[in-house]
Symmetry: C2
Subunit: 111 residues, 2 copies
Amino acid sequence: MNPKYEQQMKKGVLEMLILKLLEKEEKYGYQLISELKQLSGGMFVLKEGTLYPILYRLEDEGLAVSKWSVPRDKEVSRKYYKITEKGTAFQKELQTLWNTFSGHVNTILEE
Amino acid sequence: MNPKYEQQMKKGVLEMLILKLLEKEEKYGYQLISELKQLSGGMFVLKEGTLYPILYRLEDEGLAVSKWSVPRDKEVSRKYYKITEKGTAFQKELQTLWNTFSGHVNTILEE
DNA sequence: AACTATACTTAGCAATACTAAATACATAGT
DNA sequence: ACTATGTATTTAGTATTGCTAAGTATAGTT
């Protein structure tokens, strides 16, 4: 199967999933990549060039805020992203949209 | 909700849904638009500029073939699209991909 | 010193649903 | 006859977004 179709399906849900993961606690980019990979059984394996632009977009839209960590014990400095109230509300809306959308798709497929 | 998100979710499933509708019988463009609109309860309301390029793509890829109808009783001439064997097999693959994909999305959302 | 893993950044590409307009014909209303 | 409406197809151009690919930087390991 041409990977292009999988790519296209991802459009519109990655932002929703990332907001969902940020709801539990603030996280940094690399962490999000490995969590998504693990939670999806290897389906959502994001490259940095995919994830980081999404995070910048979330921040531009006021759905998340970021802050650099103060590295202790010679840790690498990390940029933590935290979901905002607006982001939480928006995630809920996106999830409702997803449920409606996937419901309709399944209805047509089960014809 | 910004309609952009709905648009993005559609990417990658419209082709699958149109192939699905063509599996029952050959259909013409306008017919597909109204069937999709009706079956989806108003969620998939395609503009011509969305549908026809998809049909041309299906034909280019050998997933469907088209023929002009011979209009009788002063009917308008219509271009009928018929799914090919390759198209049927491909639809099945896309549907499997959709099931896997939407399953993973729901798993993450239900965390 | 070289290599690997971690972590972030960015430039440019590809795919596809969209807007918007044009063409053409049949039929119904005035 | 003229206009508007519904059907039906075509096509030019735009926006979004996930991708490839390369680069920067630091810490720990060999």
